[in-house]
């Protein structure tokens, strides 16, 4: 259903994930709506429209930018969205770290979390814990996955490979490895417990 637009519409050409794309929109339109509705990208998401939460984050020349408050006509550089992170045939290391650490819950904000982390690591490959917190602070998560996001970033900082434990830990009840099952203290009254304390984030001084 094509709409005949009035004269305020204009052609705007964008470099998105390495491709030049021209759209016919009102020049003050926030970049977010052009990316989502005209270019059909799923990565940047509407969260607030106010530049406060980070769900709409894209990289413009490598800088994490809030696309919901960026007029499309003001964009001069190369835009990278979550779709553009993956490299030939494989995920970007940040995406792999997110999977290895099993970060997302609902996942809606994770676009902004991952792209902000990419921008951080590009300008500072070895951030301290405090620098990670500071850089990530403006990106909100209402499933509260902050602890795991920071752990995922520290995986990359520390060069720590994926831990094997995710697929191997047997906690209680059934499991193929009898010896692991025996470590569960069963029905022994009030002290029956299995201390399954998780490791702190890599590099964390307890």
């Amino acid at each position: 259903m094509e709409q005949v637009h009035n004269r305020r519409m204009a052609n705007v050409t964008l470099n998105v994930n390495g491709r030049m794309q021209t759209v016919d929109v009102e020049p003050s339109t926030p970049l977010l709506y052009v990316l989502r509705n005209d270019l059909d990208l799923q990565g940047p998401r509407f969260g607030c429209g106010l530049g406060q939460c980070g769900a709409c984050t894209v990289l413009i020349n490598g800088t994490a930018t809030r696309s919901c408050v960026t007029p499309v006509s003001s964009v001069k550089g190369q835009i990278t969205t979550l779709e553009g992170l993956a490299r030939e045939g494989g995920l970007h290391p940040i995406q792999q770290a997110w999977i290895d650490e099993q970060v997302p819950a609902c996942g809606y904000c994770q676009n902004g979390q991952m792209l902000t982390a990419v921008a951080l690591l590009q300008r500072n490959p070895r951030p301290t814990d405090a620098q990670i917190r500071e850089a990530m602070a403006p990106v909100l998560c209402r499933c509260f996955t902050y602890y795991r996001i920071q752990a995922a970033i520290k995986r990359l900082v520390g060069g720590v490979g994926p831990t094997a434990s995710l697929n191997e830990s047997v906690v209680r009840g059934a499991g193929p490895t009898a010896s692991l099952n025996e470590s569960v203290v069963r029905g022994a009254g009030p002290t029956a417990s299995l201390n399954e304390s998780s490791r702190g984030p890599a590099g964390e001084v307890a």
Partner: protein, 810 residues
């Protein structure tokens, strides 16, 4: 374009519904089932999108409604729950593949679409595994039984001469003779009728397995929803596009309870892309071709509103005074043990305290949204509603069309842990689509969502307690007032916001409710009294209450477990030791009910949760409290800690709760900045017993998220309002936990506190909400330990903490 058509090309599969209804054969539409994960549900959704309707309910008495075995020996499970990102879909695959004896990697799970999955209610109440896990295990066990029968006939041998592993049946005597499940069923239907009076009772003839025979349970296969959430896959309800779709934005009353006098459509009709202004009584929306056009038009539309004659509510600063003085709308009978007044008057030490928790919002990271398509005389709603089935039923009622002409395609979306129990955008999109005869996408703004989402009720709680001369608790009184009148339920067609604004609401509001702390302390004299109060404006208000994650739990546990800490301090007792005493005393007097003793009997909630299970609950409470203290390396001493002289004061706090058979204890270690009032919860320990653990890693993530959600509510969250409107409208006025607040360490301890040493394991209880329950109290108790100052008003933002420290000259 990422339209439904192109999605269909990419993930093409025949209509599941058509398979169920007509064909009897399912051509395999995907081969790499193990990797198809999230795409499978999308494929099913888009495949179903071809069907012209109607969309009758899948028959829960047919095995084919639950499980399809494909010819390539893969299986698809159809589950009527929604996975909000806590791994329930993966967990269903684990328990069902175990019951079916199919390799986990050869299974997929389709969830939450009303036309292809049985109505199991979507998600809510942390009941996915606790309640629905059992019918899902039973139907999978029944499928295994039927397949083994087929093999028995094919080989002409009795069942006991067959072995089965990973979907391959072989002869014990001659393992070279084998057949796969896929070959056995050969693309046909099971055509097996199940029994059971309701969906939860669905069962076949087969028995479920004892836990020792389950191979995938207790392992942590990675959640199958995660990859698509990190690679921008088209799994989101916000991303669906349909030909001819238009964009709508609501125009909300600027003052709660205001009425529309007139709408000046000419103020926007010349704007680019303008389609229509829709108004029915006080519901106003603007529809445009493009999203940014709808946003601009909604801002510009001139509406003449008439303010209500009386203020809709007191300002938030006056809320608690109002709640104390107003006459309750209802006061359920209190829970009483012994004689509270006699107990208090005989006590050597009596203390009392009042606690206040404001309204707190769901404040989803993504505001409400939905896309509704009225094509073919049906209504299809693409939605992230956690209760997709309720949305379907509610929309049918609201629009006055038969249920089987409405379906909800459940997709991923921003979650808000109860917000979509009143799925306003889904109703609005369907309403507008019916009005316009075109697909309409509704998207709420941030201001709209934060101001007008459903709220967790505000509470005022008075506690009184009495200790005897030895410091034993002899009397404990709780009296609460909850602002919860007209509580909204589950996508009811006559209570959602558009029903209120259009005047189609029911006449009588829901009574609402109030809760009491949930613990296993035995106190000789105890009373828990509750009252519900109403604000002046009942309908069309942004202060409508709904189900916010663990409804009421964090509020009432804040009072209950803070006060236990106050009593421990009054008794000069260590807070953990004081709790253990309250739990241990009671165990001595309680009858132990061990539950099913046979080691081979499968755990089943029906017989492991006897009517009087207080001994069972107390034993498990003791185990969890002890495990939390042990993991934290808790050193026994009374609170508060000796105060240091530096800028940073440190302390630790403990809190415990029982939630519907799940036991949790949180320990928080805090740093309180004496100069700024900032509180950082540096370290958290959560000890958790939810019975049989299906997927430890997914459970750990769930507990981490719930714990930090509790931190956010403890430290930041509060809905504020003047006497006309809510004034929390964005992330500046409605602050939330951020990366700066993440604990340095967060330890989760899985506990098995079952007092029955002969039982292989407990049933799988719920876990989505429990860890939230004690968290506010744990933080408050830690702040007290650090500073000697008791905070009895949530949230503990720096300015409140600083003021309290200054008042106490800390």
């Amino acid at each position: 374009m990422n339209t439904i058509d192109t999605l269909l090309e990419r993930f093409a599969t025949p209509s599941r519904r058509d398979f169920l209804r007509t064909s009897g054969r399912l051509v395999v539409g995907f081969t790499a089932a193990a990797h198809a994960g999230p795409f499978v549900s999308l494929a099913a959704q888009t495949g179903a999108a071809l069907g012209p309707g109607p969309y009758p309910d899948p028959d829960f008495h047919q095995l084919d409604s639950w499980i399809v075995i494909h010819q390539d020996n893969t299986a698809t499970f159809y589950v009527g729950k929604t996975d909000l990102g806590q791994g329930t879909g993966t967990a269903f695959r684990q328990i069902m593949s175990d019951e079916l004896d199919m390799a986990f990697a050869r299974t997929t799970c389709v969830m939450g679409n009303t036309d292809i999955t049985v109505d199991q209610g979507g998600s809510g109440g942390s009941d996915a595994l606790q309640t629905d896990g059992y019918p899902m295990r039973r139907v999978a066990a029944e499928a295994r039984r039927v397949l083994l029968d087929m093999a028995s006939q094919r080989f002409g041998v009795p069942l006991d001469q067959l072995a089965v592993s990973d979907g391959v049946v072989s002869l014990k005597a001659d393992p070279s003779r084998r057949v796969t499940y896929g070959e056995l069923i050969g693309g046909n239907r099971f055509n097996v009728t199940l029994t059971g009076n309701d969906i939860n009772a669905t069962t076949g003839i087969a028995k479920i397995k004892p836990v020792q025979e389950m191979k995938n349970v207790g392992l942590s296969p990675r959640r199958d929803d995660v990859p698509a959430k990190v690679d921008a896959s088209p799994i989101w309800a916000v991303g669906v596009k349909l030909p001819g779709m238009v964009h709508a934005r609501n125009v909300k009353p600027p003052v709660a309870g205001a009425e529309v006098v007139s709408v000046d459509e000419s103020s926007v009709s010349g704007m680019p892309g303008f389609v229509k202004v829709v108004r029915e009584r006080n519901y106003v929306a603007v529809v445009c071709e493009r999203e940014e056009q709808a946003i601009a038009a909604a801002r510009r539309l001139k509406v003449n509103w008439r303010k209500p004659a009386t203020a809709p509510f007191p300002a938030s600063g006056d809320l608690f005074a109002y709640m104390r003085r107003t006459v309750p709308t209802s006061s359920p009978n209190p829970n009483v043990t012994g004689n509270i007044e006699a107990g208090l008057s005989s006590a050597a030490i009596r203390i009392e305290a009042e606690y206040e928790v404001p309204f707190q919002g769901h404040t989803s990271i993504g505001p409400a949204h939905a896309l509704a398509d009225p094509s073919n005389g049906q209504m299809t709603i693409y939605s992230n509603d956690m209760k997709s089935y309720g949305l379907r039923n509610g929309v049918a009622e609201f629009l006055g069309i038969p249920r089987d002409r409405v379906r909800v395609v459940w997709m991923q979306g921003p979650q808000a842990y109860g917000r979509t129990a009143a799925d306003d955008a889904g109703f609005e999109a369907a309403y507008l689509a019916q009005q316009l005869g075109r697909p309409v996408r509704v998207q709420w703004s941030r201001e709209e969502e934060t101001a007008w989402d459903t709220k967790g009720p505000a509470y005022v709680m008075r506690m009184r307690g009495g200790l005897d001369a030895q410091g034993n608790l002899v009397a404990l009184d709780y009296e609460a007032r909850a602002a919860d009148y007209c509580h909204l339920g589950y996508n009811e067609h006559d209570t959602v916001l558009i029903a209120q604004l259009t005047g189609r609401r029911r006449a009588t509001p829901a009574n609402g409710g109030a809760s009491a702390p949930s613990d296993m302390y035995a106190v000789a004299n105890r009373r828990s009294a509750m009252h519900v109060v109403s604000l002046p404006l009942v309908w069309e208000t942004p202060l409508r209450t709904g189900n916010l994650r663990d409804p009421n739990g964090p509020q009432v546990t804040f009072a209950g477990e803070s006060f236990i800490d106050e009593l421990a301090a009054a008794a000069k007792a260590d807070p953990v030791e004081f709790r253990l005493r309250l739990l241990t005393n009671s165990v001595r007097g309680a009858v132990r009910r061990p539950g099913p003793a046979s080691a081979s009997a499968p755990a089943d909630p029906a017989n492991s949760d006897p009517p009087d299970d207080s001994g069972f609950k107390r034993a498990r409470s003791l185990a969890v409290v002890k495990a939390a203290a042990e993991a934290f390396k808790w050193d026994a001493r009374p609170s508060p800690a000796p105060r240091s002289s530096g800028e940073i004061l440190t302390g630790r706090g403990f809190a415990y709760a029982y939630r519907n058979q799940t036991v949790v204890a949180n320990v928080a270690e805090v740093e309180v900045n004496r100069r700024t009032g900032r509180v950082w919860v540096k370290r958290l320990v959560c000890a958790h017993d939810c019975g049989l653990v299906i997927n430890p890693e997914a459970l750990r993530r769930t507990i981490e998220g719930a714990s930090l959600h509790g931190l956010s509510r403890a430290l930041y969250e509060e809905v504020t309002f003047d006497t006309e409107k809510v004034t929390t409208v964005d992330w500046r006025t409605s602050p939330t936990l951020t990366h700066l607040d993440a604990p340095a360490t967060l330890d989760v301890v899985f506990v098995n506190g079952d007092p029955n040493p002969n039982r292989p394991d407990l049933p799988h209880y719920g876990a989505g909400e429990a860890a939230l329950k004690p968290m506010i109290a744990a933080v408050a108790n830690a702040i007290y330990d650090a500073t000697g100052v008791r905070l009895r008003r949530v949230p503990f933002r720096p300015e409140r903490v600083l003021a309290a420290l200054k008042a106490a000259r800390v």
